[in-house]
């Protein structure tokens, strides 16, 4: 057995460490090798889980209550595979991104960028491009570690690792806006971690174990468990930026360099979401209630409406995409009342909503990464990302805007995109469970999404407009990764059967799954 799951964590750590230690231009090579090998390991893991079912491992040989266990079921592996593909796309893009001038901000006075990526001897200063690779590798490793860990305290450490790596990446360019955004993000995430940790403490005091599986088997109920669940949920919702706890997200995601923005919106937010889903449907299922689930659904619905309106109002492209993330995160949480305790345990639509939400997370991962990377191209090539000054730029980089449009279709949920599959499953579930109000929200959200995507495309497609300056040429690999990610968000809708079946492996709805198959 090759234990691919261990390598999914180890490879990025080794490459990240080597990149930290060696630095310079070698770090880019190490980062690329890391990205490639991690992707391979991730797909070996997919194959392993597909063939053998749920994979479990006791670290250090110490079994669960004493030691820490790793566990890869369909859901974990699904997230790891998504991270791998999106991560590979981002890595390929980043190779050339940090070599472009003048970088994402129109601030030529900053002296630090001189020599970035031009191969000059730069021993005396830290360059953003040099720090990017090790930090990105650590971010990737911490994502995979989170998806695999089966221990609630280990998950806390993983969350902190993820936060610090994200903040260090946000402030990479050392610009004022990003330092402010990074600081606000750090404080918000720190507060979320503390709420989560308090929940862990209460849960441990109640159950005496930290392992997720053992906690799930204990079928916990009672005041302390409910309070613990509430604290952990609020902490994670803060990290997942569910309305009204999204205040830190737009600035943080939009002021970071494009490959970082893409990773934050496509992957990091999903990690908190993933963890919440896991806890909610496995550990806190018996302690949950319809009222709480409906409240979360309402917050999600509000996020969809307000986030989309804010996105339409934004004057800067990256800000628009960041607000779009706020809205799309809302969709993910509409899944909770649909898959939760509203129905009876044997209602199949609960499982449909659960897979629908996760498929939506997948499609958003690909589409949003593509959009942020596209915005990065536009910003560094035009020197600005003002939505109302994009006129005519579609002629300069048609493929970029084509990708933007395809990704937008997936966000809107138009067939045959992956977004459509996710949304369709959630819609069916809403109709079957007679919770029609969620169906209305899902449809209205799609229309609003169409609104802001249309604004960008209609601006860019205007003809015969003078452009301020000749845009710089774009390296082909960047265009390719933007396009590839967008196309994948479409293709995954055409071939949804296998991924959906994969999600069933070890899913917390075992009774439902067997009924579906009969």
């Amino acid at each position: 057995m090759i234990e691919a799951a261990i390598w999914v964590i180890l490879i990025p750590l080794i490459c990240g460490l080597a990149a930290f230690a060696i630095g310079g231009r070698t770090s880019r090579l190490l980062g690329l090798i890391g990205a490639g090998l991690t992707t391979i390991a991730a797909f070996l893991l997919v194959a392993e889980v597909w063939v053998n079912g749920v994979w479990e491992y006791s670290l250090g040989g110490w079994e669960a209550p004493l030691g820490i266990s790793l566990r890869a079921d369909g859901l974990s592996t699904f997230m790891i595979a998504m991270t791998a593909v999106v991560g590979l796309g981002i890595s390929l893009y980043a190779v050339r991104y940090f070599a472009l001038t003048p970088g994402p901000s129109p601030d030529p006075s900053a002296p630090l960028r001189t020599g970035a990526g031009r191969g000059e001897k730069s021993q005396a200063t830290w360059l953003p491009s040099e720090s990017y690779w090790p930090l990105w590798m650590l971010l990737w490793a911490s994502l995979n570690a989170l998806f695999l860990s089966s221990d609630i305290f280990n998950l806390y450490v993983g969350l902190e690792l993820l936060t610090l790596a994200s903040v260090a990446l946000i402030i990479l360019e050392r610009e004022r806006a990003s330092i402010i955004a990074g600081l606000r993000y750090l404080l918000a995430a720190f507060l979320g971690s503390m709420a989560y940790l308090l929940g862990v403490a209460l849960l441990y005091a109640e159950a005496g174990v930290l392992d997720l599986q053992l906690l799930a088997d204990a079928e916990l109920t009672g005041t302390a468990v409910q309070v613990a669940g509430g604290l952990m949920a609020v902490g994670l919702l803060l990290k997942a930026a569910l309305f009204p706890m999204h205040f830190w997200l737009p600035a943080a995601h939009s002021s970071a360099p494009a490959p970082v923005s893409a990773a934050l919106s496509a992957l990091v937010v999903k990690a908190a979401f993933y963890l919440l889903i896991r806890l909610w449907f496995e550990v806190f299922e018996p302690a949950s209630s319809i009222a709480v689930e409906q409240v979360i659904g309402v917050l999600g619905a509000t996020a969809i409406i307000l986030g989309s309106f804010q996105a339409i109002r934004q004057a800067r492209l990256k800000m628009m995409i960041a607000y779009s993330t706020v809205a799309q995160v809302g969709y993910l949480f509409v899944m909770i009342p649909l898959a939760g305790s509203f129905g009876d345990p044997q209602d199949v639509w609960r499982f449909e909503a659960w897979t629908g939400g996760l498929y939506h997370a997948l499609s958003h991962g690909f589409a949003k990464a593509s959009m942020f990377l596209a915005a990065g191209v536009i910003l560094s090539s035009l020197g600005h990302d003002r939505v109302w000054n994009l006129a005519g730029s579609a002629a300069r980089f048609p493929v970029i805007y084509l990708s933007f449009g395809i990704a937008g279709m997936s966000l809107m949920g138009l067939p045959p995109s992956a977004g459509f599959v996710g949304k369709w499953l959630m819609l069916t579930s809403a109709v079957e469970s007679a919770q029609w109000w969620w169906a209305v929200i899902l449809l209205v959200g799609g229309l609003l999404t169409a609104g802001y995507v249309a604004i960008v495309l209609s601006q860019a497609l205007q003809r015969d407009v003078e452009i301020d300056r000749e845009p710089d040429p774009i390296p082909r690999i960047m265009t390719l990764s933007v396009f590839g990610l967008a196309v994948l968000s479409m293709l995954l809708g055409l071939r949804a059967a296998e991924p959906l079946e994969f999600l069933e492996i070890g899913a917390p709805f075992q009774t439902l799954i067997t009924t579906v198959e009969e």
């Binding site: 450490v157 936060t163 606000r184 750090l186 404080l187 720190f190 503390m194 403490a201």
Partner: protein, 104 residues
């Protein structure tokens, strides 16, 4: 009243005070102080739980290890936040985060 209950109640009291301070105090240092103290309140609760779980005068070492990990994580995050706050202050002279990005 047991030793566990005394310190556990103190811990949750500290947590609530810190939450209030994080929301209402706008000075960055004050926010960072409150977050750090919030961390130590959770650590106090964990240590109290370890005491409660004692077997024959030996306290539960698992929460102890968790707290030790937590202390190092807390100081790392605090120090990083301080570095960012000081850089921000040095650049702008501000001591508070302004709501400049127009979020709701």
């Amino acid at each position: 009243m047991s030793l566990f209950l005394i310190y556990a109640l103190a811990a949750v009291g500290l947590f609530a005070i810190c939450l209030h301070a994080i929301i209402t105090r706008s000075h960055l240092l004050r926010k960072i102080l409150a977050l750090n103290m919030m961390g130590s309140s959770v650590f106090l609760l964990l240590i109290a739980i370890a005491y409660r779980n004692s077997v024959e005068e030996t306290a539960d070492p698992v929460p102890h290890a968790m707290v030790l990990t937590g202390i190092v994580v807390a100081v790392s995050a605090t120090a990083f936040a301080l570095a960012l706050a000081r850089r921000y202050h040095a650049e702008t002279g501000e001591t508070e985060l302004s709501d400049g990005d127009g979020s709701t």
